[in-house]
Amino acid sequence: MNVVVLGATSAIAEQVARLHAARGAALLLVGRKPGRLAAVAADLRLRGAARVEVRALELDELAAHAALAAEAEALLGPVDLVVVAQGALGDPAAYAADPAAAAAVLHTNLVAPASLLTAFAARLARRGAGSLVVLGSVAGDRGRGSNFAYGAAKGGLALFAQGLRNRWHRTGLHVLTVKPGFVDTPMTAHVPKNPLFASPERVAAAIVRAADARRDVLYVPWFWRFILLAVRAIPERVFKKLDL
């Protein structure tokens, strides 16, 4: 199996990559920091990966995406699985003084992933095989004051993935939207931990199972499906008064 991991130094993506390495996959890791990519790559090789290639790349640069998709095929051969995991939480407190910061969060979490998905989807669909795994978030299910740019981007990304799923369904291309709840990763390092937090290992195991089963949407851990069902059902009139 040939796997491309975009945002490969994110904690969840790294754990997903480990599970594929243990199955003997060939991997292409893409991320920003060469040192960290090298550390992850060495680990994956020792965990049984058939091959690990790395590319240090600023994934926010849209112009590089088409070439990256082509390069992935040149390096690995036909790509079976693409994991789109890059993201950034952003800080809503800074947006008022710097509106571009809010736009940057939308770019990193929505525009760039959408561009990457488009570039890879076209190639996978042509072959009529393979899976795209998109890391969204439960934050994308309802707009909240505490992370409105991040939530909007993840919500938009989920909708984009849904559209891709619909468009390419007949070709055999599979698209999985993952909606993790709180995960104990560097992104949430500043948040006090509570029992709702899941480990990246647990989330990654669920993602791999869901991708194997060609599911459409995965809430992980599973209880978030029901939490979000409730959260979405609260009328806006009430919801806007809640300090969330």
Binding site: A11, A22, G35, R36, A39, V40, A42, D43, L46, R47, G48, D184, P186, A189, K193, N194, P195, F197, A198, S199
Partner: protein, 434 residues
């Protein structure tokens, strides 16, 4: 997510900062800090109450492996279970493994752990070839028996106090298969144990005994002797059993003298005729790992483990005294472990293993009654010139610590000034408890 607590269920009070990358600097924190791996230390040696715990779980990458020499470099948060899962199928095994595979490499070094093969292989630290230490002043030092040997000796068995072990290099040994030829021999009392142990240490790589902690008189120390060698034939790994989890804290009433007595009798009866078996390494080395979070059977109040080593040169009286005090108290739970340590010196300043016999068993933590027993046991160990195991300890007195670890002042000198543990503050305190 499970709360940060020690295996004896002491909850961490203070901050916790997860670490993710070995080349990152230490987080900037107020006050003191201490590395925390998977929380398999029982007492307070892994806690820094009021300070910050550096959670090493994210430092879990393999770095390099040389098949010719068996040298594995990995980050400090990698567990022995992860090493086993990957390298045992390739024919390599950590030279020393403790009773649980859920310990990190950093934790194994910090406590200089021992295994069932101590009589042959010595401690874990004896097979660590190099490690990198990140200190609070931002410096990084690669330590080995040759480079910074003093700091290396202080870090092995140094209870995490010399800095953060970002990565370490260990020597794995070759194994012919993932299977163990496991023999069980019942014995009637302490004297029989020593006889069996002395004989088995020459024929078997792994030896340990489980004893009935309630048996008294002529049967004091009766139990089952386990001995094993790696099986030669290349057996294929069978299906792994999925561990069951203790889903919640059991009520305190579940553990009492009657249930413990019944368990010990049943356990002995069920295993006495076992003879020689061929088993996967997991049940042989890690019998309790088959029950995840087994510490919950002690309820919310948790458990205390008593582990001491008593030197051989004082004869068997000391062991008998300790076992008798335990049996008399009736507080011991389930099975106690008895194992002889060999004469191989540990490389660490503060290593626990030393020639003699080690006794380990759990007690439910039940306030003053339990503390009184621990004080009595400590007195017996002190009298015998023995030592208590910091990784298991919650109540050792400064006096006991000074007697058992005369080189502690050397560690204090090499300790990172910002690294501290609740254990360390307790055992180095000037005043004695009343």
């Amino acid at each position: 997510m499970a709360p940060v607590e020690s295996w004896g269920r002491i909850r961490a009070e203070g901050a916790a900062r997860p670490l993710w990358w070995r080349d990152d600097p230490l987080p900037e924190v107020e006050g003191t800090m201490l590395p925390f791996g998977r929380g398999r230390s029982y007492g307070d040696a892994c806690l820094d109450q009021g300070g910050t715990l550096l959670l090493t779980r994210g430092l879990s990458r393999f770095i390099s492996f040389d098949e010719a020499t068996g040298l594995l470099a990995c980050e400090g948060g990698v567990t022995l279970g992860e090493i086993l899962a990957r390298f045992a199928p390739l024919g390599f095994f950590p030279t020393v493994v403790p009773g649980t595979k859920h310990v990190t490499v950093g934790g194994a070094i910090a406590n200089d752990i021992h295994g069932k093969n101590h009589h042959r292989a010595g401690t874990f630290g004896a097979h660590v070839t190099r490690l990198e230490l990140l200190r609070s002043d931002g410096s990084r030092r690669v330590c080995s028996p040759a480079e910074h040997p003093e700091l290396f000796a202080a870090t092995v068995g140094g209870l995490g106090l010399t800095g953060l072990v970002t990565w370490a290099e260990l020597r794995l040994k070759r194994i012919p298969s993932a299977f163990i030829r496991w023999e069980t021999v019942p014995f009637e009392n302490v004297d029989a144990f020593f006889e069996l142990s002395a004989r088995s240490d020459t024929t078997h790589e792994y030896t340990v005994a489980w004893i009935d902690c309630l048996a008294r008189g002529d049967r004091l120390g009766r139990g089952l002797f386990y001995r094993g060698n790696h099986a030669e034939a290349p057996f294929r790994a069978g299906r792994r059993r999925r561990p069951v989890t203790v889903p919640f804290d059991l009520p305190d009433a579940v553990l009492n003298r009657l249930t413990v007595k019944a368990f010990n009798a049943l356990y002995r009866w069920r295993n006495r005729g076992a003879g020689e078996r061929l088993v996967h390494y997991e049940p042989f080395f890690f019998p309790l790992d088959g029950v995840e979070r087994w510490n919950r059977i002690y309820g919310r109040s948790g458990l205390m483990q008593f582990q001491c080593v008593l030197p051989f040169d004082r004869g068997l009286g000391g062991v008998r005294g300790v076992l008798d005090a335990i049996a008399r108290s009736g507080q011991g739970s389930f099975l106690a472990v008895l194992k002889t340590f060999g004469g191989l010196p540990s490389p660490g300043l503060l290593s626990f293993p030393r020639p003699g016999v080690t006794v380990a068993l759990d007690f439910p933590r039940r306030g003053e009654r339990t503390l009184a027993l621990f004080r009595e046991l400590e007195g017996l160990v002190l009298e015998q010139g023995g030592a208590l195991y910091p990784a298991k300890d919650l109540v050792m007195s400064p006096r006991m610590f000074r007697a058992a670890y005369p080189r502690a002042p050397e560690l204090e000198r090499l300790r990172d000034p910002r690294f501290e543990s609740t254990f360390w503050r307790r055992v180095t305190a000037a005043e004695e408890r009343p």
